[in-house]
């Protein structure tokens, strides 16, 4: 049995607590993620997908409920411990690339290593290695604004992978990429997941992209409305199941 890496117990997130109009973005959601899992989160716009992964990955703090990472509850961790946990265990990839524009691509990739007090020579070595792997080694002296969208996303992935994280958290990682770059990215995720045992938690709108995962959570109005396991299904069969789940909502609109 694989080790539990991330556990969410009855997580609720309410924005604007104490104001006239509090908004419940997430209500009573639970999830267990094991080492080597590849979980995809789908749902309509505003359903709470990003809130869900932000609360699970220590970016945000739930209003109610508990999140355990490696068996430890996030709320009981101090700020330093949470920070340390992030740069040692998590790799974040987002739709907007989120590269730091005043740093070169090299420096951007190096940031998580710098945070973990890695020696200078090792930083240089590891950045070169991961940059080569993601084909961004010729861009290392450039600034993010001098690179194309695909190049920036690859650089952001290199940054996420440079510390060999146990869990990759990706929010719409293909949102700004063309189909070729999107599938290359997902092939890479699949390889990391299958060969290196990296766990992946990813939000996407694209059923085709979601079909690379092993488990799908469909979130609607802040609840997990449906869960699909890939199991022994082929990617094509799994894709059709995902499309079905997504189209139910649209079909309801016609009936109503």
């Amino acid at each position: 049995m694989s080790k539990e890496i991330l556990v969410a117990e009855n997580v609720t997130k309410i924005y604007g607590v104490g104001t006239k109009n509090p908004v419940t973005a997430l209500e009573d959601v639970s999830l267990k993620m094991y080492e080597g899992d590849f979980v995809c989160v789908m749902g309509p716009s505003g359903s709470g997908k990003s809130t869900f992964i932000n609360n699970l990955s220590t970016i945000d703090v739930p209003t109610k409920g508990k999140v355990f990472i490696n068996g430890k509850e996030v709320r009981t961790m101090g700020e330093n411990e949470v920070g340390q946990f992030r740069y040692q265990n998590l790799g974040f990839i987002f739709q907007e690339f989120n590269l730091l524009d005043s740093l070169t691509i090299f420096e951007n990739i190096a940031v998580p290593l710098t945070l973990s007090n890695t020696p200078l020579s090792e930083i240089k070595e590891r950045v070169q290695l991961v940059a080569k792997k993601l084909d961004v080694d010729i861009l290392l002296d450039k600034y993010p604004n001098e690179c194309s969208g695909g190049q920036r996303q690859r650089a952001a992935i290199a940054r996420a992978l440079v510390t060999n994280p146990k869990l990759i958290v990706a929010d719409e990682p293909t949102g700004n990429l063309d189909s070729q770059n999107s599938h290359e990215l997902l092939e890479l995720f699949k390889k990391l997941n299958e060969e290196e045992g990296v766990s992946i938690l990813m939000v996407t709108h694209d059923s085709m992209i979601a079909s690379y995962s092993q488990k799908l959570l469909y979130i609607k109005d802040g609840h997990i409305a449906e869960t699909i396991e890939k199991g022994n299904l082929s990617q094509k069969e799994y894709f059709y199941k995902i499309v079905d789940v997504n189209s139910v909502e649209s079909q309801k609109l016609f009936v109503d």
Partner: protein
């Protein structure tokens, strides 16, 4: 009429941006008023030595200096307006996309400008009157004249109005030009970006700027007299502006790859400093030029109390104006860095580390702003002490103005910068 209402509504909504701009305008108006008061106040003038030909009329030095400071104030308003408009590009782009014509967009900005200038004028004249009354008394005491405390020359108000109207016209020309030249995609991308491009037509090798700076320093050391000291101060300070833009970024880049890449705070703070310096190099250069040249002028006028006082007041207000502009620009630029700091937080930087990064960046910035011209200033003060008998008291006073104003500006910038970029973390995600 709809355009006018919309423009006023947006001004109210974006009041934070407008408030800082209006206060800058008010401060500049107050300074303009103060120096028109010095020019127009008959009690502060010597009787001009008239000759038959107008060009032989001797103009008092304080009048000339006041005039230069007023020109400088006009420049500061144009600069503030330029920056203010460049931070409103989203609004302009959305209006253009919604079908507003060039005239409508220009009018939209002009309505806002007129209202802000009007408010700034009222505040500026009230503030300027108060300052002028105190300054007049101060100068009277030096020239042994007994003048009424509440006396303000009416011409100062008229001259300020004419000056502000001329500046409003300049703003109209600049604003319409800006709206006319920029396309929608450019406008939409500008408010969120903090990238600056090298737009030099002639790209000199960067060592030239060090040579220019050193030339100023060496000239001050080699030969000295009070009038000719202005030239090396000016040249050396010009070198500072260019070094800030073209030499320091390269130096930081080298230092980062050799050493600071493994320093979690310096890696970020110096990368940000690189951008801040590039964006503010004109102001930094201007600060160096104005402070060193104004000090040289004060030394030159040390035996003439009235001119010395005018120069000293000029020195203080120019220093305050430039520092206010630097704070304004720095804080406005900081608004584009919210996501930057949020991303650092996501990567594992703690709130305390982010605060330390901001503190480091701002401290380094002000250390350079203060330190580089200080070499020239201290040299000219020492030379003046050796050759012109200026007092230690005078030297301390000059240095105190520089140091105190710099520290106050540094603290203000730090607080405003931190509040702007870390607010989201203070309100939302905290683990302590």
């Amino acid at each position: 009429m709809g355009n006018f209402k919309f423009s006023m509504r947006m001004l109210k909504k974006e009041y934070k941006k407008s408030l800082v701009y209006t206060l800058t305008l008010a401060l500049v108006t107050a300074v303009t008023f103060l120096f028109f008061n010095i020019i127009d106040n008959p009690h502060l003038m010597d009787a001009p030595q008239q000759t038959s030909q107008w060009f032989y009329t001797q103009m008092p030095f304080s009048t000339m200096l006041s005039f230069l400071i007023i020109v400088f104030c006009a420049f500061m308003i144009v600069f503030a307006n330029n920056f203010y408009v460049s931070r409103k590009t989203d609004e302009i782009a959305i209006m253009t996309m919604s079908g507003s014509t060039f005239i409508n967009v220009t009018l939209y900005l002009i309505y806002q400008n007129i209202l802000m200038t009007f408010i700034a004028f009222i505040i500026g004249v009230i503030l300027g009157s108060g300052i002028s009354m105190c300054v007049n008394q101060f100068i009277y005491s030096y020239i042994h004249y007994q003048g009424a405390f509440f006396y303000i020359p009416m011409n100062a108000i008229f001259d300020t109005i004419i000056c502000i109207l001329a500046i409003l016209f300049g703003q109209l020309v600049y604003t319409s030009g800006f709206v006319y030249r920029k396309d929608i995609s450019y406008l939409l991308s500008q408010e969120k970006t903090n990238i600056s491009q090298d737009e030099r037509i002639f790209k000199f090798p960067s060592w030239i700027y060090i040579v220019i700076y050193l030339f100023g320093v060496v000239s001050l050391v080699m030969s000295y007299n009070s009038v000719s000291a202005i030239f090396p101060c000016f040249i050396g300070s010009m070198g500072i502006g260019c070094m800030i833009k073209y030499n320091f970024p390269k130096l930081f880049h080298i230092m980062k790859s050799k050493k600071w890449l493994a320093d979690k705070l310096k890696l970020i703070s110096l990368s940000n400093l690189y951008y801040s310096l590039r964006r503010a190099y004109i102001l930094v250069g201007l600060y160096a030029v104005s402070s060193s040249v104004m000090i040289a002028i004060m030394i030159m006028q040390k035996d003439n109390p009235r001119e010395l006082i005018t120069a000293f007041i000029g020195f203080i207000v120019v220093t305050i104006l430039i520092l206010a502009s630097i704070i304004y620009k720095y804080v406005m630029e900081a608004t584009t860095r919210k996501l930057f700091y949020y991303n650092l937080y996501k990567m594992g930087y703690t709130y305390r580390q982010l605060k330390a990064i901001i503190k480091q960046e701002v401290t380094y910035f002000y250390s350079l702003l203060f330190g580089l011209p200080m070499v020239i200033i201290i040299l000219s003060l020492i030379q003046a002490y050796l050759h012109q008998d200026i007092t230690i008291h005078f030297m301390i006073m000059i240095l105190a103005v520089q140091i105190i104003s710099d520290i106050v500006a540094c603290v203000f910038t730090y607080i405003a910068y931190k509040k702007n970029v870390l607010k989201v973390l203070e309100e939302g995600v905290r683990y302590e």
